[in-house]
Amino acid sequence: MNYRDPKLRDLLAGEYAMGLLPPRARARFERLMAGDAALARLVTDWQERLAPIDRTAVPVAPPRRIWRAIEQGTLQRSFPAPAPTPSTGLLQSLAFWRGFAGAAAAVAAALVLYIALGSGPARAPAVVAVLADSTGTPAFIATRGERAEEIAVAPVRPQSLAAQKSFELWAIAGGPPKPLGLVSATPGKPLLVPASVVTAAGTVLAVSLEPEGGSPTGLPTGPVLFQGKVLAD
């Protein structure tokens, strides 16, 4: 599809705002939007045009326990990764799911199962952890590097990162998060970390949004955007 055709761009933006794009097309569109501010602007324009319809929904007070659950969920955000929903799905190779990263949680879960079953394709790098965003969309991947004592962490596709911000990687295993360094927002320049710090199964790897150059305090100061558990060997 030619995403430069202005008419088509506006139409897709409208269909996206309506909620009519099927899941895969929507994921693709969201990836495009992340790197195309003008497209994101078209979407916002559509959202604002249609927003009055939202006001026709009758407000209903949600039960108080919902807020308590949200409070808890966001406080604990300083860790334990959300358990992925086990699900079956296609998965041939890293390259395959890189292309379909938008297929999100199911794919991440399938990957976990796949690796757990020990049936990964021989050429695929050994995946140590998949770090997903809060919707379950895989964003970063930790793989065993060429040297056994190193783990390489890199995004599976370019991640949007505001100016004067950095992504910082942390390992959490019981105690306070341990800083592992700044990780690039674009693939191809992996952060290498000592395997000994991260390979204990159950360790959580997390990426937080920090001021440029990393957290000034040695602990995460910004939101944890991506996280994932280290998989059992």
């Binding site: 506006d10 139409l11 409208g14 269909e15 705002a17 309506m18 909620g19 009519l20 099927p22 899941p23 929507r26 994101a40 602007r41 916002t44 559509w46 959202q47 604002e48 045009r49 249609l50 927003a51 009055p52 319809i53 939202d54 006001r55 026709t56 929904a57 009758v58 407000p59 209903v60 007070a61 949600p62 039960p63 919902i66 807020w67 659950a69 949200i70 409070e71 969920g73 966001t74 955000r77 965003d133 809060s134 919707t135 949007s160 505001a162 911000k165 949004l209 910004g222 939101p223 944890v224 955007l225």
Partner: protein, 183 residues
């Protein structure tokens, strides 16, 4: 204007959330959750699912607050977007889509000539006017999709019209709405 003051207040709360201010987060929830819950209920028609979606959406709001861009749109629109996509996904995952004919009445109320309730604001009146210029069935397609989260397939069944026709109804309707609203 009341609506503007409200939007400005939500912006202020949102800035607090970005600073990780829990009180601002709680206030943002208090002010917006009932409307958002109403929207989720309209799409899901199932209380437990709507509760789950509301909860998930606010956790995402906390996590992604920094990505909210005030230049690009209002806080409420952003919150609705986070929530609606989740609600629509949830609805699509259901094996069996229940019959939703009961929802017709408020739909028609919306599509009816603008009654101009003051608290619903001028933007709704303008949208209603433009919706009113569409033909009846394309208008229903737009409203069923946006307000109730219908997919193209469901629209096709519900409006007993081939899916290709339904798709082009929606596309043409979007073009006409845009011209009418922006013009």
């Amino acid at each position: 204007m009341l609506a503007d003051a409200n939007a400005a207040h939500l912006q202020e709360l949102m800035r607090g959330v970005v600073r990780r201010d829990r009180a601002a987060f709680a206030a943002l929830y208090d002010r917006t959750a009932p409307q958002l819950f109403g929207i989720a209920l309209r799409i899901l028609r199932q209380r437990e699912e709507a509760e789950d979606v509301l909860q998930e959406a606010f956790v995402v709001v906390w996590d992604r607050a920094a990505s909210f861009d005030a230049e690009r749109g209002s806080v409420m629109t952003w919150l609705v977007t986070v929530l609606r996509h989740r609600a629509i996904d949830r609805r699509r995952r259901r094996a069996h889509l229940e019959d939703r004919l009961g929802s017709e009445e408020d739909l028609l109320a919306l599509a009816a000539a603008a009654t101009d309730e003051a608290d619903r604001g001028a933007s709704l009146a303008a949208l209603q006017k433009c919706l009113g210029e569409l033909e009846e069935r394309p208008r229903h397609a737009v409203l069923l999709a946006y307000a109730y989260g219908y997919t193209h397939e469901e629209l096709s069944k519900r409006l007993t019209t081939p899916i290709g026709t339904v798709k082009s109804w929606v596309r043409r309707s979007l073009e006409r709405l845009k011209r009418c609203l922006d013009g």
